[in-house]
Symmetry: none
Amino acid sequence: MIECLLAEDQTLVRLGLKNLLELDGELVVTHCAENGAACIELLEQYQFDIVLLDMRMPEKTGIDVLQAMKKYKNKTPVLIITTFEDCDVLVRAMNLGARGYILKNAELECLVEAIKKVHIGQQVLQPTLTQYLLSQNYDKAEQLTDKEYEVLKCLSLGLSNKAIAETLNNSEGTIRNHVSQIIAKLNVKDRTQAVIKAINEHLI
Amino acid sequence: MIECLLAEDQTLVRLGLKNLLELDGELVVTHCAENGAACIELLEQYQFDIVLLDMRMPEKTGIDVLQAMKKYKNKTPVLIITTFEDCDVLVRAMNLGARGYILKNAELECLVEAIKKVHIGQQVLQPTLTQYLLSQNYDKAEQLTDKEYEVLKCLSLGLSNKAIAETLNNSEGTIRNHVSQIIAKLNVKDRTQAVIKAINEHLI
DNA sequence: CTTGAACTATGACATATATCACTGTTTTAA
DNA sequence: TTAAAACAGTGATATATGTCATAGTTCAAG
């Protein structure tokens, strides 16, 4: 019996997935989380064989969950279940240790198969992402660091350098440098363009 | 027995919803459509007691389906099942004759209840939309002028004051003043926050 | 005909932003 | 154990941004 933690914010989708999965005799969804924060808590309290993780959630995102798992050295395998082939986010998720991802418009059999593969230690990648990685000459140097993502998140809240410095407990100069880096890496001209890009490309 | 047509593009969500609904003895999903075009075809071929319609679909959207139904005078009641409280689209849908809408993060009981209500001819509206309709003419005094909207649009493209000045054939100082006004009227602190607000509240 | 609103513009000013060069510390991977 | 990166910081500098006071033009409404 494979015990799953299902993190998905939309109630109807969450219930629907739980029911579908449990049609397969080997799978059981022992707990559900309706946001990232709840997911992190459940991971602290219980053991699971696998985490089925939606990316876009309120409170804490899937990325936040993966970061928390990394921090607390939680080795439970993670399968991303996502609506969008949102390449940047997926790349980040894979870099943060996710074992694979599957789209919500996949067939049920694929999902079940993916879960079982991840459970026995295999990776599950869809062709699109691999293509993206190959074609887009994916340059690791151009990837934002975790800290930079944190700063970008603050930027997208409309915070000034000073406010970000206070929020993240840094000097304003440090934040200035991070912002400068973000602007350079995103290949934009100023913070406003960075925020626009972040919103449009779902980087946050 | 209430015979339902379920139009929803994401396979896993579609299957999940079908299973959930059929847990209720009164409901049966006789057909599913994975996009708007398929939905329109099925409506031509079969009779249903109710249509459960996702808004964002490839091929044809939910709006397209409602327009087609209007055109062919198909009177099957429609319940919108949507992820986003995307007020403008929902208003359009209701004007096109949808009987109600429910969010994907509603409880299963609410969905079933909504379906039954719609089936017996009632309307199903969530509070948020009503609030939105009321708040439309809320801060008329703080409305942006046409010119200010133009400038805001430029801001949202990430243009600098100088670039906006060139685009709109004004001096940089004039644009600075407009930006200042926009910032004041939107009650934000700088251009970045103005852009964020513009995007979030669909001001552009 | 006058008033007010929108639009245009300038100059002055304070502050915020972005870049650069340089210096460390810590963490991670080879 | 090195070498790399990420991370934190300082100081200098140039430019962009936002605010204010002030003022002229146009145009529609009273």
